[in-house]
């Protein structure tokens, strides 16, 4: 095998003039399919059709269902229950007749008999609180899950339905034809979970004085997506892989205790009813405050409100257009501040609601971080199309819904906080507000592809955070932070292109790795200009639509004229990692005497050496026929070359000719599975440095090792591969020539003694 390799290499490096010697095979070799890492992705990607085009754009037959909701919700603070009655209008825009609809009952994941607890393996917990013990072992589980009181059509007639865990099939009396609507009502209630004790993406946080802070989401029966990818997307909700939802208009009234402050997806339709006159005035004033946030509900008002327990109620009326979901947060404890944000073509509002426990961190940063996120993401994609974005402070939460999200981050009780607390809070706000773009607007299927929203969002998040605070969020972390994960044991890795429930290290797999991959594409492979245009094209093509991974991969290539199939294949479809090293550096000098290789070549042709055409040769320093006098010779010392130059170039041209003195052969090795560009930093004897980047395609014909001849007028003293760690190289021990003998541990130890 090795011999054959050498033969192949020789053919590549000599010219095609010379015939190849036929190797004697000892055993017949096995054939193989195309195993090139540059093989196009046609077999992996679905066949394009008139809904999802080969260009990655939506096709002329692309359709999408619309679902509108009109809901009356009652929040029972005293008993931690929520009641709702909703009328759903389903618009069948598909070309198909539907005989049933699937409705998602996400709260059933918290029901005592849920699939989530059944499929969770593992031994006993390290410790059990009494309540957890009773819940787990003594038949007293939390009575969560939906209680459906009725499902009726618009004539008040009962509708038949069947519940399978978190999915409910609503049977239609007659098929719903293409282009028709169907309206029906559901009445329901459920017990709200204490998410601090029982976990969950929503629920309430109890405070020692009895007050509660509610963050309420996936709280109403919601239609599943019907499309030409999955049919009905009715994969069960197990708690981790998030949601797939249709766009529609929401008209929602929420009844709360009179002393509660609430915000939700959409815009308040009755601000004068729910705010005091002073609050309403500030609510309006905030619309012109572009520099600093202003209070709508002041800390003093919140402090006053949390003392009461009003028995009276009030109704908050919201309307939200073209959203895929609805969430709200409510508490007596909320302080509310607001700021206007000017985007390219429009002005939107940034809001934050937080209890006093969030201060001074929240009044300082939350709304500003929301504004910064909307601006940065709008530059990468499109102007934020919704009227507002809200950040809610909820302990230990980080979860997104259209226009509203829950974010953790609170100072110590004495009001002090570390940079890390601040960083965590800014990070989560940027991340969750950023989710408005992916997936709330560019609406990928989260249930199947966690990376499409988490990964793409985490990628843009990098730049938004950097813009907010470059010291706290340096870009140099990326992509090298992912190498820890990518160098892990293969049995603990899954390709990015895996369903969310099947991932081992969820965070790294679905957030960190895709984000790092896109970062490499933008910073190293494509460059900002090509990447940004293609990325924007993807966002614009698929806003308010349901893109698939193929639509993203295809658009990025279609809009940039870059073949990235090798990148998608390696980074997204495999668990491979990058490891490129410098294996060997050989020095060559110029001679006019034929080298051994030239002699061999002549022999192969059956000619004598003197019959070779006049030529110069590069001879390796370690070659047997090398003599020391060659070291002092420059190429132009040979008449053969100087005559040629004199005959062919004007004196003006001659001044621009380079006169290399040294010739290096650089041998790069690639123990890693991935292909990546080779970034080489060359340091010369005089201390100057030079950078050279070879495209990933350099590995096309040899996946293990490639060689480059590098001419230079100065002697090279040091070579470093990927000096800025731009390519997620998991093993840096082979990245230097001459080889570093000291490992990281010894270097640290030495510095420690010095310091």
């Amino acid at each position: 095998m090795k011999k054959l390799l050498v033969a192949i290499l020789l053919t590549i490096f000599s010219t095609s003039l010379f015939a190849q010697e036929v190797e004697q095979k000892t055993a017949p070799q096995k054939a193989h399919y195309n195993i090139s890492k540059f093989k196009q992705l046609q077999q992996e990607l679905p066949t394009p059709n008139n809904e999802h085009r080969a260009s990655g754009a939506p096709g002329h037959e692309y359709t999408q269902q619309q679902v509108d909701y009109k809901m009356n919700i009652v929040l029972d603070d005293e008993n931690q229950k929520i009641f709702g009655e909703e009328t759903i209008t389903y618009h069948n825009n598909s070309k198909d007749n539907l005989t049933y609809l699937w409705v998602q009952l996400d709260q059933n994941m918290r029901a005592p008999n849920s699939l989530t607890s059944e499929i969770k393996g593992g031994g006993p917990d390290p410790l059990y609180s009494p309540s957890k013990f009773a819940k787990t072992f003594m038949g007293k589980p939390f009575q969560g899950g939906f209680n459906i009181e009725f499902i009726k059509d618009i004539n008040g007639k009962e509708v038949s339905y069947m519940i399978n865990k978190t999915m409910m099939r609503v049977n239609l009396a007659k098929p719903l034809a293409s282009g028709e609507n169907y309206a029906f009502s559901i009445k329901w209630w459920y017990n709200i979970n204490d998410y601090i004790a029982d976990g969950g993406r929503s629920g309430y946080e109890p405070f020692p004085d009895g007050n509660k802070l509610y963050v309420i989401a996936q709280f109403f029966p919601r239609l599943a997506v019907y499309n030409n990818i999955e049919g009905w997307q009715n994969l069960q909700f197990l708690g981790r892989s998030e949601f797939a939802l249709e766009f529609g208009n929401y008209d929602v009234s929420i009844t709360t205790p009179k002393d509660h402050i609430l915000n939700a997806t959409g815009v308040i339709q009755n601000p004068k009813d729910v705010f005091t006159p002073a609050q309403y005035k500030r609510y309006e004033q905030a619309k012109n405050s572009f520099e600093n946030p202003v209070f709508i509900v002041t800390p003093e008002e919140a402090l006053e409100a949390e003392k009461g327990r009003s028995k009276e109620t009030k109704i908050w009326h919201f309307y939200a257009e073209n959203v895929r979901d609805f969430g709200f947060a409510s508490s007596r404890k909320f302080i509310w501040d607001a700021m206007a944000v000017k985007l390219n073509e429009k002005t939107v509002m940034a809001y934050s609601l937080y209890p006093k426990e969030g201060n001074p961190l929240w009044e300082e940063h939350s709304t500003r971080a929301v504004a910064n996120t909307l601006k940065t993401y709008s530059e990468f994609t499109f102007d934020y199309p919704y009227p507002q974005a809200t950040s809610i402070n909820a302990r230990r939460q980080g979860m997104e819904y259209p226009m509203i999200c829950w974010n953790y981050g609170r100072p110590n009780e004495d009001g002090k906080y570390t940079d890390r607390t601040k960083k965590g809070m800014l990070g989560v706000i940027t991340h969750e507000v950023g989710h408005n773009f992916f997936p709330m607007i560019v609406n990928s299927d989260e249930r199947t592809w966690t990376w499409m929203d988490e990964g793409i969002n985490s990628f843009v998040e990098i730049y938004a955070e950097y813009k907010y605070d470059p010291e706290l969020f340096p870009l140099t972390k990326y992509p090298k932070d992912i190498t820890r994960y990518m160098s892990g044991d293969q049995s603990q890795l899954a390709p990015i292109m895996s369903q969310g429930e099947d991932l081992f290290n969820f965070g790294s797999n679905a957030y960190g790795k895709p984000a790092a991959g896109l970062f490499i594409l933008r910073e190293t492979v494509m460059g900002h200009k090509l990447f940004d245009q293609a990325f924007k094209t993807y966002a614009e093509r698929w806003k308010f639509k349901h893109p698939t991974p193929a639509d993203f991969f295809r658009t990025m290539e279609d809009a940039s004229a870059m073949d990235l199939d090798w990148f998608w294949r390696g980074w997204f479809y495999t668990t491979g990692a990058n490891d490129i090293g410098i294996k060997e550096v050989k020095k060559y000098y110029v001679t006019d005497k034929p080298t051994e290789r030239a002699e061999k070549m002549a022999k192969r042709y059956g000619i004598t050496v003197d019959k070779l055409p006049p030529a110069l040769y590069l001879i390796s320093e370690d070659s047997a026929s090398f003599t020391d006098d060659l070291k002092s010779k420059k190429p132009e010392d040979y008449n053969l070359l100087s005559n040629y130059i004199n005959d062919n170039f004007s004196s003006e041209e001659k001044t621009t000719l380079k006169a290399p003195k040294y010739f290096y052969e650089l041998v790069f090795e690639k123990p890693g599975d991935l292909v990546m560009p080779i970034i080489v930093e060359i340091e010369y004897k005089d201390g100057t440095k030079e950078r050279k980047q070879y495209p990933a395609e350099i590995w096309r014909l040899n996946d293990a090792e490639v060689t480059k001849v590098f001419p230079s007028s100065k002697a090279i003293t040091k070579i470093t591969i990927d000096p800025d760690e731009q390519t997620a190289d998991i093993n840096l021990s082979n990245n230097s020539w001459p080889k570093k003998t000291e490992n990281k541990f010894e270097k640290f130890k030495k510095d420690q003694i010095k310091g």
Binding site: L127, R396, K416, D489, F745
Partner: protein, 166 residues
Amino acid sequence: MQFKKIIIILVAVPLFSFTMHKYYVSLCEIEYVKEQQSLQITLGVTLEDLEFTLNKNTGKQLNLASKIEAKNIDAYYKKYLNKHLLISVNAKNQPFKYVGKEYDGDIVRFYLEINDIKTLKSIEFTNNILIQEFEDQKNIVKIKVNDFNKTFYLTKSNDKSSLKFQ
């Protein structure tokens, strides 16, 4: 007193399962360098989770890696590491020397060393760092001896492993 303790534990056990961003992994690289007769241990731990744990254990706000960090922080680290990272070499418990620590973004990296290991016949290790507080915590242990590499994943149900060289 008993009652108070229970409360603290209850409050302290976080159910982070749905919080985004989290990566409950520590990485412990153990390399045997024969020329130095030394076992070099590099251990990277998520700062946020370690702070949570140490604050809980000590009842103090240690404010790791910040301007207001507790002054004798290395003493807290040493104490914690000695309790939760146990290594025995050639069937003999071996205390490690705390060479130092470095902060690198969201993680703290500890450098620990066991000296005078003339030959390495076997190594046994327990690593239950952060496991009590974070039930999804995984502690990766990578052993490197010359060209030999092996990776172990330690979890709450299995926080111990060993390796023999013949």
